[in-house]
Amino acid sequence: MIKVENISKTFKIPHEKRETFREYLFSFFKPLEYEKFQALKNVSFEVRDGQWLGIIGANGSGKSTLLKILAGIYLPDSGRIEIKSKAVPFLELGVGFNPELSARDNIFLNGIILGMTKSEVERKFERIVQFAEIERFLDTKLKNFSSGMQVRLAFSIAIQVEADVYILDEVLAVGDSAFQKKSQEEFKKMKEAEKTVLLVSHDMETIKKYCQEVIWLDKGEIKKQGKAEEVINAYLGIGGNQ
């Protein structure tokens, strides 16, 4: 279960950059002027076990900030978060991939960064390789992979991570159509296994397909929350070209 209560987050954006000793020294008596940007305003919601919650909104509406706070990367200025089970955030695929290492080494590297143990990765190694369809290139350096193959590998590692709560940021649309079909299968399996998922996407079809409930974020606030169909229609009606 994820419980979010009244989360607010403000970023200070300085007018001039001041990030060296020299700059501090020469502008010692000048007060640092900055603008406040409120990325999130009193956001509260709850995700029950086994529920898929979609988050939609225009670029810059605070979706990523919200996910980063849930992932523990940013601290909220106020408010409370409660996540009562093992949560794995996928804010980006292939975190920590090293292009100079082979695909084999990168599977271990990325798997461990995502919270698996070494023996867990060893156990799932075959499945990861099969799913990514890279058997022939296991010992090729990652930098010689096509970018499509890289994300396919990254995706294949990510879906092997076992958790109860997944926080997914735009990770569905990877690879060619055959691979996408395969990954849709994985999502169906996740849904059947009653995992709790927080899904951020611009693809309304996917959101409609998997999420019963949707939150529409606008300028850091929840503009509308409710049944997927209703919220998406309201969002498309105003948002227009999405």
């Binding site: 970023f11 990030e19 060296t20 000793f21 020299r22 501090y24 980063k68 992932a71 523990g72 990367i73 940013y74 601290l75 955030p89 804010l91 980006e92 975190v95 920590g96 960064i113 995502l114």
Partner: protein, 223 residues
């Protein structure tokens, strides 16, 4: 990685052996051990300084105890220290230095104090570097100051005796001097000064850890 202190040692040896070499029969070994240890300090703190910012792409995506990034840097420096010490051990075993059982044990203690010192500094450096990007060049200058302020290539005897207590306020001087005493001369180390260095390093480590834990929570916003 392994070659750097060795080459530095060769240069210093070529330049200074005629100056200090006649008085000290073990000048070669003393110099080599000194450069290895000072190189550990310099490499360790430099890697530590960059340890958070260079991993920004991971830190912004995955939540893990951030201290791990610092320990990874320390481990990297420690690995090259290990290989350097292997090279040193070859020289050491073939030289007519007295072999004592306790020497490696005491030496290990000094390496641990040095690692504590490096890690303690890294807790501060890694955070400060995110806020002050010119700290890297400042730290380079500090490192060369440390190199000259520590008896690495010159013997302690060139400094007047009344200033010795001042020199030994520098924990690096204590570590390098006593490592030479135990490994090369086969003598017992100066325990009060060792205790002082250990205290300094531990206090720095604890203060650093507190500072780091307090500041690291918000550091991702400054990347």
């Amino acid at each position: 990685m392994v070659l750097k202190p060795f080459l530095l040692f060769l240069i210093l040896y070529l330049v200074f052996s005629f100056l200090f070499g006649q008085k000290d029969p073990n000048y070669k070994l003393n110099l080599f051990l000194g450069t290895i240890l000072i190189n550990y300090f310099q490499e360790g703190t430099t890697l530590g300084l960059f340890s958070l910012l260079s991993r920004a792409n991971i830190i912004l995506k995955v939540n893990f105890p951030r201290e791990i990034a610092l320990y990874a840097s320390l481990a990297q420096a420690s690995i090259s220290l290990f290989f350097n010490l292997v090279v040193f051990a070859i020289f050491w075993l073939f030289s007519p230095t007295p072999l004592k059982i306790f020497s490696p044990l005491y030496f290990l203690l000094y390496v641990i104090i040095l690692a504590l010192l490096i890690q303690g500094l890294n807790f501060f450096l890694s955070i400060l570097y995110v806020k002050f990007r010119d700290l890297a060049s400042i730290w380079e200058v500090v490192n060369s100051l440390v190199f000259f302020a520590t008896p690495v290539f010159y013997p302690l005897s060139v400094i007047p005796t009344k200033y010795h207590s001042l020199v030994f306020l520098n924990p690096l001087a204590v570590i390098i001097h006593n490592s030479r005493e135990v490994l090369i001369k086969g003598e017992l180390p100066d325990l009060p000064r060792t205790a002082l260095a250990l205290c300094l390093a531990s206090v720095l480590f604890i203060l650093g850890l507190l500072f780091f834990r307090k500041k690291v929570k918000k550091i991702a916003e400054d990347f």
